[in-house]
């Protein structure tokens, strides 16, 4: 549930950055020390798509998975927890790489990218905790069955 709520917030953060990148929010400009530098750098595009677009896709995927995991049928499924963890790990690694680029290549920090990085990090730790709990439950249930 926490993951779903965070992912929903992440969708809006990434959407904001995407709309900015597409020039739909304000006018495109270059200024010192803000999102402009980051969002107009060559790293703002990944595999031909804006990085913010990948972010929107990631958060939508996380949200759908997290909502599915709250359904009764999957509430104790370790598979869906593992899937959530896998996607969250990918997001964390990608976000870590972007933060590295901001700090050491672009030399500018975009506050919305930082917000997104924090959301991804929290999502990661929550999914780790969830996966461990599900694994423990499954193991104790199978031990009881034996």
């Amino acid at each position: 549930m926490i993951v779903a709520a965070l992912a929903l917030a992440g969708i809006f953060v990434a959407l904001y950055l995407l709309l900015y990148k597409l020039g739909m929010i304000g006018a495109l400009s270059c200024a010192v020390g803000s999102c402009e530098i980051v969002n107009t750098s060559k790293w703002a595009t990944f595999l031909g798509l804006p990085v913010a677009g990948w972010g929107v896709g990631f958060y939508i995927g996380m949200f759908v998975l997290a909502m599915a995991s709250t359904r009764d049928a999957y509430a104790e499924s370790r598979t869906i927890s593992a899937l959530l963890l896998a996607v969250a790990t990918t997001g964390l690694l990608f976000s870590g790489w972007l933060t590295y680029l901001e700090l050491f290549e672009i030399h500018a920090i975009c506050q919305w990218c930082v917000v997104s990085a924090i959301i991804v990090t929290v999502i990661f730790f929550v999914t780790v905790a969830d996966y461990r709990e599900k694994s423990r439950k499954e193991e104790s249930e199978s031990a009881l069955a034996e």
Binding site: L8, A9, A27, C30, K42, A75, E76
Partner: protein
Amino acid sequence: MAGKKPNKRNVVRNASTRPTGFYYILAAIAVVGASILGYTLLRKPSGAVGTEITPGPAVASGPAQGYTMGKADAPVEIIEFGDFECPGCGYFAVVTEPDLRTRLVQTGLAKFTFMDFPLGMHKNTIPAHNAAACANDQGKFWEMHDRLFATQDQWNTQATDNPKPFFEKYAEELGLNKDVWLTCYNARKHEGRIMANVAEGERRMINTTPSFVVGSKLYVGALGYDALKAIVDSATKK
């Protein structure tokens, strides 16, 4: 159903996995997020809203001198403070400027002046401004201006540490006297003027590119043609 034995695990799940509060939280996030995004999208673009500026005192940094196209007696002057390496300026030059030239400048409604405003974060921009200033000596500033913006991604900081060969190639392609241009470029002959233009921009409270000054108003960001036309119309009425 009544005869069925209740499934203990399902009872626990129903109680723990979907409390009503969860949906309230999701709804609250959705409403807040959508409201902020909606507000940001629907409000007037910041570039079209002029800010009244009061220029500070002139500083002794040499004479500021932009590059002007259009009739000297045009009723309105649009001054752009631009950076050759800024993607926003490149966007403006490629997308809006052709319309600006044919529909506002050539029709005599306005004249257009480009003022150098190289930003410190772009390492190759001052050489680019020098390249354009040296092309101006041979009457081809706007040709070099257009070429620099059109090829920005090939010579910018991310693409190369040495932009000079690119500029030399453009000078050749534009039919400039290469030796004269190169002597000027190597000597950084016009860097004083470029820095004077920066000082002039700072005096007019500019810190972002592209920025446009029309009369006493400052407009920030890559304006579209419609926004520019509206600004020119409004300035003409005054």
